[in-house]
């Protein structure tokens, strides 16, 4: 049987295409060894924002990049918390522009959450807003980072005595989750 040169070119292209597809498949397997889905490599976290009358907390689910280190995870959790609620009827808990410098978790379970100066500068003040801020940060860390037992607040790496003239910020905060999320 004779194969015309046209046919030969065709088969060559076919072979080349098949090989390329195989190669792409190989690369895909290399990059995504477990296949691909929307939340691959992501981890689900739970954030709690207060209702508008600040009477109770409602849950929101977020996906963040998986972090093996609890401290990195804690930072991501607070960054999501700082973005505020998706539901417009819930209240934000961190002041506008607050950045998270980092979270350090000591071996005794105390999380040192370090915020930028906006944490104080842009805070509305008032006993209620201060309480909500402190509680919501505690809840977010406690719920998502199992190691955390209590939270101590820092601003630019330094201890703070007060937030806006109400709560004593010198001690770490610890609450019973049940009493906050009833």
């Amino acid at each position: 049987m004779r194969i015309s040169s046209k046919e030969r070119t065709f088969y060559m292209y076919l072979l080349w295409t098949v090989l390329s597809l195989l190669f792409v498949g190989f690369l895909y397997k290399l990059v995504f060894p477990h296949g691909f889905s929307l939340h691959r490599g992501m981890v689900k976290i739970f954030l709690y924002f207060p209702t508008e009358d600040l009477s109770s907390y409602k849950k929101e689910i977020r996906w963040v990049r998986f972090r093996n280190d609890p401290q990195d995870l804690a930072k991501l959790v607070l960054e999501e918390l700082a973005k505020g609620p998706k539901n417009a009827r819930l209240s934000p808990v961190l002041p506008v522009g607050t950045k998270i410098n980092g979270v350090y978790i000591a071996s005794d379970g105390t999380a040192y959450a370090d915020f930028s100066e906006e944490f104080i500068k842009n805070h509305p003040g008032g006993s209620a807003a201060e309480r909500i801020t402190v509680e919501a940060v505690f809840i977010a860390l406690k719920v998502n980072v199992p190691k955390v037992k209590r939270v101590k607040f820092l601003v630019n790496g330094k201890e703070i005595k007060e937030l806006r003239g109400h709560l004593d910020m010198t001690l770490p905060f610890s609450f019973r989750l049940k009493s906050l999320l009833k």
Binding site: E52, D53, L54, S55, S91, P92, V93, D108, T110, P124, G125, G126, S127, A128, A129, R131, I132, R150, K152, E159, K161, E162, R164, G165, H166, L167, D168, T170, L171, P172, F173, S174, F175
Partner: protein, 346 residues
């Protein structure tokens, strides 16, 4: 001296213990706190009060004395039982040469005359460099609360109270100084006046707060001691260093209000109720939290959030003179109700 013959309890003066241990003794009457600092550690205490912390190189002991650590002629006296229970025997040997003083036993139930609540200190929140929370059209919490506090002073004076304001114009006072002022005036009641803030405009209503000791479990106290530089966690082993300056503001400061928390809760309830009655504002709740301004108060003490300045409707009301009188009347009604109840109880 005859009175002492009737007495039942033995005490050692803090100054004599200090000299027996070769250390130094120090007492702040306005804060009601004292300390004995010696070579191997320090003993911090509340007087008059029950709270104490002993910090030694190898251990820290905190707790409450069964008998009150008394104040007699300006000098704190520690119950002998307390000293024997707390100090390790090597210290007791040095102290054993001291002769205990016998002070008259504490009355079984502390009898309080109506006059004990006669002096009220009102603290208008914030002031000066600290505007407090901000409302619409440049409304500032510091101005609103000062106006309310002045009206409350008049209301209470007309009902027979002696009233002092921590500030009577626009200047800043550090938080601890405000309750120290009340201690110095020997006030029977301390009321800090505030206006609330929320992240959302819709939040509204009145709230009354008291000092809560929620986070002062033993673990938190140990952390507190660490935080204050009292206990330094070395690798695996606890090392202790004694702060040169200052008392234990956080540990003992919390406790200054401890003895009055139950009364403070009753006061908070009465004030919330009457305040929402005169203003028709929504009574949200009474709640305990760690307020700096209440921590050092040695009397029933509450913080009144008279309304949300971040809520446009409530802000307008708070700026209104007539409404401010309603707030003042409401708080005064609550105070009167509280005092009547307390006096009847005794």
């Amino acid at each position: 001296m005859m009175a002492f013959l009737l007495a039942s309890a033995e005490y050692l003066s803090a100054s004599s213990i200090a000299s027996a241990l070769g250390g130094e003794f120090d007492y702040s009457p306005y804060q009601g706190r004292g300390r004995i600092v010696f070579d191997e550690g320090a003993f911090y205490f509340q007087s008059p009060g029950r709270a104490y912390v002993l910090v030694l190189e190898d251990t820290t002991r905190a707790g409450f004395s069964d008998r009150i650590i008394r104040l007699f002629r300006g000098i704190p006296y520690l119950p002998v039982e307390l000293v024997e229970a707390v100090f390790p025997s090597r210290f007791l040997k040095k102290i054993s040469s001291l002769k205990p003083v016998v002070l008259k036993a504490e009355p079984k139930s502390e009898k309080i005359e109506p006059g004990d609540y006669k002096v009220v200190v009102i603290d208008p929140g914030h002031g000066g460099k600290d505007p407090g929370a901000l409302g619409p059209r440049g409304l500032k919490e510091k101005d609103v609360v000062l106006a309310i506090a002045k009206k409350l002073k008049k209301e209470l004076e007309s009902r027979g109270f002696v009233v002092y304001l921590t500030r009577d114009s626009d200047y800043y006072i550090p938080l601890e100084k405000r309750s120290e002022f009340a201690n110095r005036k020997k006030a029977g009641i301390f009321i800090s006046i505030h206006a609330n803030a929320s992240f959302k405009k819709k939040t509204k209503g009145v709230e009354v707060y008291y000092l809560s000791l929620e986070a002062t479990d033993s673990e938190a106290r140990a952390v507190a001691a660490m935080e204050n530089g009292l206990i330094d966690f070395g690798e695996g082993r606890r090392q202790i260093k004694i702060e040169e300056e200052g008392y234990l503001p956080l540990i003992l400061g919390d406790m200054a209000q401890t003895e009055y928390v139950e009364e403070s809760i009753v006061l908070a309830e009465r004030v919330l109720k009457s305040l929402s009655r005169t203003t028709r504002a929504r009574a949200r709740f009474i709640k305990g939290a760690r307020f700096v301004v209440l921590e050092h108060a040695m009397m029933p003490a509450v913080l009144v959030e008279t309304g949300y300045i971040t809520n446009p409707v409530e802000a307008q009301k708070l700026a209104d003179e007539e409404y401010q009188w309603k707030v003042a009347r409401g708080i005064a009604d609550g105070v009167v109700k509280f005092v009547k109840e307390m006096v009847e109880k005794r």
